[in-house]
């Protein structure tokens, strides 16, 4: 009875196959059904930089409580082609139940055979195999037909009555097959449903950033497509009319950031979305933001470099790029959300901070965060307003008026009586070119003064643990959930976790946290420990141990549990 399996509380499903083979269709249908049925779901994917062929996979975790992190373990493996099994070989164990078309898979492993193509052809077209597969997987969870048909209707309604009808038939066929298989092979899945999940938001990383930007009052987005940041561009383009956001695909990233700065100048609230290579082209524009003291919001979704690197994989290798990019000296802020709630909140806050301090603000994410989704119990409220710091000008208005804190009121053309002059050359208070050494020094001081007051609005790191810890784990950005779950699994009371959603500037208080621990461990998805280096730069504190990963994949919970 090798096919007999029993899963409790949590199941990890991995769908794998070639690009374009239908992983995404199965995933969409399945997660829709499972969430409706009241299961917590989390999904993340790893895929190759190609449109057809290769081997891609999607992991979907289905559980009685939230488990939004990547794990190595595969409970249910659904290979769509023979290569997929080889691709996942190292993650398959005796406990993995493999489901698929045995004949097509040609494997020596035992496979729970479901004749997808044959049944789909009976319904009318091999294309329905994906819906049968989704129905089958949902059936293993003992989902009733109600949520299944609702989900199918939502997804296929716009394709017409006939296609919708056949997909319903296919899904129900899948459920029937699952019920038969469970009885015949003694397969039991016991996962408690949580009815409130059905009404929760299920959101993906790029959507959280895009909606957060809108909630921050974003009115302008210019960008050049680049994985893994493109989702934000696509999402806002599709909602441009509804949200009242000007969206433009720029000819290159240089144009994109210069457009963004032009929009801020005219009174827009602008963002660019890009990845490391694209941002490298924006470095001069970033420096311009520093010089003209323009607000700017930069969503930098990291992927492994150098150069083109691994276009569809994940890494946290551009922290120092964000930190040091741009010639000359000027202040900046770097946010690094690790949860989808924080992705929304950081994106929204980036506009507030950029506008208030007239500085560039980064939202540093990565492929892991962009391509992950899960249901969120309490999604943040959309604020009732997005405060604007634009000042009405009077006749003697001067854009760079020297003030105590370094922030000069920011006017825009056409709002008031003054004129608004900005210049990338060193300038005087009025914005006119100057080479006066005293004015130059005063302007440098003015710009750098802002850096000093930025910590007033810093987002503090979040502490997880109890006071008497021996070990302190540091993490930033998308490693949040994997670290959390790894520590929960270990259950060691003497280990605490400090999660940074803002990595620059760092609040001074962190030194207190660091000094209390016997061992401070920094977890980063890069090869050299960039955040550990930043901590040393800012506090003088050298972390004791670094756990680094740079093969293009995110940390898994198991690997962190073992290494911490």
């Amino acid at each position: 009875m090798a096919l007999a399996h029993s899963f409790k509380n949590e199941v990890s499903i991995v769908l794998a196959g070639e690009a374009g083979q239908g992983i995404q269709t199965i995933e969409t249908i399945l997660t829709q059904i499972l969430k409706r049925a009241g299961f917590h779901v989390f999904g993340t994917k790893e895929y190759m930089s190609r449109v057809r062929g290769g081997s891609n996979s999607t992991e979907i975790r289905v559980a009685a409580s939230p488990v939004p992190a990547f794990i190595d373990r595969i409970d249910l493996c659904v290979p769509l082609d023979p290569k997929a099994l080889a691709h996942l070989e190292h993650r398959l164990t005796e406990q993995t139940l493999i489901v698929g078309e045995a004949q097509a898979l040609q494997s020596s492993r035992e496979i729970l055979d479901i004749p997808l193509t044959k049944l789909a052809t009976t319904i009318g077209d091999p294309i329905f195999a994906n819906t049968i597969a989704a129905g089958f997987l949902a059936g293993l969870f003992n989902v009733e037909s109600g949520p299944v048909l609702e989900a199918i209707t939502k997804i296929f309604a716009k394709k017409g009555e006939e296609i919708l009808g056949k997909n319903r038939q296919a899904a129900l066929e899948g459920i029937r097959l699952a019920q038969e298989a469970c009885t015949a092979h003694s397969i039991h899945l016991e996962i408690k449903k949580c009815p409130s999940v059905a009404g929760q938001v299920i959101i993906q990383g790029y959507e959280a950033i895009a909606l957060g930007a809108a909630a921050g009052g974003c009115r302008f987005l210019a960008s050049y497509p680049m994985s893994p940041s493109t989702g934000v561009l696509t999402f806002l383009a599709q909602h441009a009319a509804q949200l009242g956001i000007v969206v433009e695909q720029a000819e290159d990233e240089i144009a994109a950031i210069n457009m963004g700065l032009g929009s801020w100048y005219a009174g827009g609230r602008a963002m660019v979305t890009t990845s490391g290579g694209g941002f490298a082209l924006m470095a001069e524009g970033l420096s311009l933001a520093g010089a003209i003291e323009s607000p700017m919001v930069i969503h930098l979704a990291q992927r492994p470099g150098p150069a083109t690197g691994l276009p569809t994989r994940t890494e946290q290798g551009d922290l120092e790029l964000a930190l040091y990019a741009g010639h000359g000296e000027f202040p900046r802020i770097i946010l690094a959300p690790g949860t989808l709630q924080d992705a929304f909140l950081c994106a929204s806050r980036a506009f507030f901070l950029a506008d208030k301090y007239q500085v560039p603000v980064f939202i540093l994410t990565d492929q892991c965060l962009m391509d992950s989704y899960y249901n969120v119990k309490e999604f943040p409220e959309v604020p009732k307003e997005a405060p604007s710091f634009v000042a009405k000008t009077n006749l003697d208005y001067a854009r760079y008026r020297l003030t105590e804190g370094g922030i000069s009121p920011r006017g825009i053309p056409g709002f008031g009586e003054g004129i608004v002059c900005v210049d990338s050359d060193e300038h005087d208070e009025g914005g006119y070119i100057t080479e006066d050494a005293n004015v130059r020094a005063a302007m440098v001081d003015k710009r750098l003064k802002k850096q000093k007051i930025l910590p007033e609005d810093s987002m503090a790191p979040e502490f997880y643990g109890t006071g008497g810890y021996q070990k302190l784990v540091l993490g930033w950005g998308s490693n949040f959930h994997a670290i959390r779950e790894a520590l929960c699994r270990k259950g060691e009371k003497d280990t605490a976790f400090l999660y940074f959603k803002q990595v620059y500037p760092l609040p001074e208080k962190i030194l207190e946290y660091l000094r209390k621990a016997k061992e401070v461990i920094c977890v980063e998805n890069n090869a050299t420990g960039q955040f550990a280096r930043l901590i040393r730069r800012e506090t003088g504190f050298e972390v004791h141990r670094k756990i680094l990963k740079y093969n293009g994949l995110p940390f898994s919970v198991e690997e962190l549990a073992q290494k911490i």
Partner: protein, 286 residues
């Protein structure tokens, strides 16, 4: 010219005596005054170079950004607040060299902005190297044996891209230049005016005299709606024509943006509305 609202009380001009930029500055000032443009609704955008300093010498809103990048913020300013009149004024190196890609794609967009390019066929601020429009054989401290590259032909490129308004003037023919710049500003859509202008310090070949002898005015027989003919005129290089080469009135970029389909209010003037965001989030619950 009498006093205008665009006069600065004092300004320290960085151009050489006799520079063609003075002529352009005065002309621009006259044109925007005669058109009675509201200074509050007028923005000058420039890049870097001697020509790009022009807005510094006017009392006006200006955005003097990066070398080669004048068009990107200019288009964005227009997208963000279509009520503003946007005039880009920069040099041949800035527009056709460093900013070449933006030049191409801005024409494709057709925003309602005016693009004045001071074309003196040489780099002034960096002291005398070849520009994209330098003629073959032009000797400089860098191109020591003379330029061997084909000169960039902005008019032919613009017409090839079906630009909405394409003209060339010579600052020595003042009244002619003035009328055309006026028309360019009034034209609805992207308007390119390539302005021949001598550099008295670094270009001893293309002088006032040279431009007088090597150009001629297009007469009434030229139909600016005829694109093929306009292209033929643009590639004439024995004597170079001056005038309006090509006009093609067509839909303006910013008016076609999704954000302006239902609501014409400039996005910079719109109040924050949580409801549309909440509606999208609500759909994510279904």
């Amino acid at each position: 010219m009498g006093k205008t609202v665009f006069d600065l009380e004092k300004c320290d001009i960085a151009w050489c005596p006799g520079c063609g930029n003075y002529g352009i500055l005065n002309l621009v000032k006259e044109v925007v005054s005669e058109l009675a443009l509201d200074p509050q609704k007028l923005v000058f955008v420039s890049g870097i170079g001697q020509a790009a300093k022009l807005p510094q010498y006017l009392k006006c809103h200006y955005y003097n950004g990066l070398h080669g990048r004048a068009l990107s913020p200019a288009v964005a300013i227009k997208m963000t607040n279509p009520e503003l009149t946007v005039i880009v004024t920069s040099g041949d190196g800035d527009m056709y060299g460093e900013g070449g890609n933006h030049f191409l794609h801005t024409i494709r967009r057709n925003p309602n902005i005016t693009n004045l390019v001071h074309n003196n066929m040489v780099y002034g601020l960096t002291k005398g190297q070849a520009s994209p429009t330098s003629e073959k054989g032009f000797k400089t401290p860098v191109q020591v044996d003379g330029v061997i590259l084909e000169p960039f032909n902005p008019l032919a490129v613009a017409i090839a891209l079906d630009a909405s308004f394409v003209a060339r003037v010579f600052i020595g023919f003042r009244e002619h230049a003035k009328e055309i710049i006026k028309k360019a500003i009034l034209h609805k859509g992207y308007a390119l005016v390539d302005i021949f202008q001598p550099c008295v310090t670094f270009n001893k070949i293309n002088t006032y005299q040279w431009f007088r002898e090597n150009t001629y005015l297009l007469d009434d027989s030229h139909d600016p709606r005829d694109r093929t003919r306009a292209f033929q005129k643009a590639i004439e290089n024995k004597k170079m024509p001056l005038g309006i080469f090509f006009v093609n009135e067509k839909a303006v970029f910013e008016e076609q943006l999704a954000a302006y389909k239902q609501d014409r209010t400039p996005v910079c003037q719109r109040a924050f509305q949580p409801e549309p965001i909440e509606a999208i989030i609500k759909k994510l619950k279904e």
